[in-house]
Structure formats: structure tokens, C-alpha cells
């Protein structure tokens, strides 16, 4: 893991901000595959991210139609944990840094 914590006496909010500045934002992206059922992908999104039915379906349709969907963005360590869990469910998940920041 590559998370770097700022060693200053700050509030949790300030720490999170510092982390984001040091590490940047990372995206968890799910790629399409021709095997996993649509209903399975929706179920996995609901289980892993706690999405409601509509949000889970929206991401599943993005994967299906556009080949990929950004399902989560944030700190690298958490992004890694989400990608790992999605891979445990046999979805193809990749991590990408947000180049816009």
C-alpha cells in the first residue's frame, strides 16, 4: 500500500484533504466481459458498494454498453480494497489515477 499520512496535528477532515493532495484521486473501473450475467453484476454492485437498484443498474448498463464504468473514486487505499473485492467476485476491475487533478 502506498498511502502516505501527513504527520501534522490536524482534524480528520484536514488529514483526508492532505491525503488526497498527496495521493490524488483514484478511480475504480469495471470493464465489460461477455460472461457474467447482468443480474449478477447488479447484485455485486449492490453488495460491494451498497448501491440501490437504480444506481447499480445504471453502472451495469454503462459497463455493458460503453465497455466500462467508474464505480468509485477516492483515496488509493480504499480504491484498492474495492478493486480487490470486485475481483474476488470475478469482475474485471482496474485502478486508474484521476489525471484531471
Amino acid at each position: 500500500m502506498t498511502l502516505v499520512w501527513a504527520k501534522t496535528q490536524t482534524t480528520p477532515e484536514a488529514e483526508t484533504l492532505t491525503e488526497l493532495q498527496l495521493e490524488g484521486i483514484w478511480h475504480v473501473i469495471v470493464l465489460n466481459d461477455p460472461v457474467n450475467l447482468m443480474s449478477y453484476v447488479v447484485m455485486v454492485f449492490k453488495k460491494v458498494f451498497g448501491f440501490d437498484e437504480v444506481t447499480a443498474r445504471k453502472h451495469m448498463m454503462e459497463v455493458h454498453e460503453q465497455g466500462r464504468s467508474v464505480v468509485w473514486s477516492g483515496l488509493r487505499e480504499k480504491a484498492e480494497a474495492y478493486a480487490h473485492t470486485l475481483q474476488q467476485w470475478h469482475l474485471t476491475a482496474v485502478l486508474e489515477p484521476d489525471e484531471t487533478h
Partner: protein, 151 residues
């Protein structure tokens, strides 16, 4: 999720178990869905891969354990809260392996739509495709029950 007992035809399912067992053997050391892990540190990558393999093997063992003596005697398998996640994931793993090892000749669009005429398939592919469909049916069954039991 409530405990559910599923009755299956032993005559139909038993031959498919040979296909599943053979693939499960190959999946002991290989991930069903190879992942792109370039963004990870090398040390983390190995641990990450090992962890995924361990989880995959545990899932496959749970799936194969469903087809025990009771199944061969009475055709019944039992799904409950403790095994459904493992079983549904194992079904995904075996389906992915079936696709990459045995069903490459079927084009992507047909695979996604499920629009495949089994009678048109070569004899050798037919059994693996039926296995592929059987595992999808198991997944659908579990998903339906999960949906019915969620508040």
C-alpha cells in the same frame, strides 16, 4: 436468505460435474478472470494474486461440496446464508473458465445474448455449453432468492 433446497436431475447434472471438477482443478493455480494489476507495487501484487486464488479455491470447494452423497441419492442440494456467496462466485469462476477454455468458438455477441442453438454446436462443445447454462441458472436462482429475502 432462507435455506432453500433445490431438486435437480442426477442424470442430467452428474455428467456436468465432471466438467466442473476438471475446470476447478485448473483453477487451483490460475485466476478465472485474469486481472490487470500494473498499478500495484510488485510486493502487493503477489499477495493480492495469492489472496484472490485462495478465495477462488474456497468458493470452488463450497460449490463442489454441494454435490454430496445426498445429491446422488435424492438429487437435492441445499443453499443457505453461509454458502450462497461462495456458490454464486464459484459459478462465475467456472463460467469464465468454460468460456476461455472450451467456448472460444462462440462469438461474443451470442455469448452475451445467450442466443446459441445448442443443436448446431459440435458434440464436444455441447456438454460444456449446457454446463455453462446450468451454472447461470444456479446464479439466477440464488439472485432471485436474495432479492425476495431483502427488505
Amino acid at each position: 436468505m432462507k435455506r432453500i433446497e433445490v431438486r435437480l436431475s442426477v442424470t442430467v447434472v452428474a455428467p456436468l460435474l465432471d466438467v466442473i471438477r476438471e475446470l476447478a482443478e485448473g483453477l487451483r493455480t490460475e485466476l478465472a478472470a485474469p486481472q490487470q494489476l500494473e498499478q500495484l507495487d510488485v510486493e502487493l501484487r503477489d499477495a493480492w494474486q495469492d489472496d484472490l486464488l485462495e478465495s477462488q479455491n474456497a468458493d470452488l470447494k463450497t460449490l463442489l461440496d454441494l454435490f454430496n452423497e445426498e445429491f446422488f441419492r435424492e438429487g437435492a442440494i441445499v443453499l443457505d446464508e453461509d454458502n450462497t456467496d461462495h456458490v454464486i462466485r464459484a459459478c462465475a469462476a467456472v463460467r469464465l473458465a468454460l468460456r476461455s477454455n472450451h467456448l472460444q468458438t462462440i462469438d461474443e455477441e451470442s455469448m452475451e445474448s445467450g442466443n446459441v442453438d445448442i443443436e448446431e454446436l459440435p458434440e464436444a462443445t455441447r456438454k460444456t455449453f449446457v454446463c455453462y447454462l446450468f451454472l447461470a441458472t444456479m446464479q439466477e436462482l440464488i439472485i432471485q432468492h436474495l432479492e425476495q429475502s431483502s427488505p
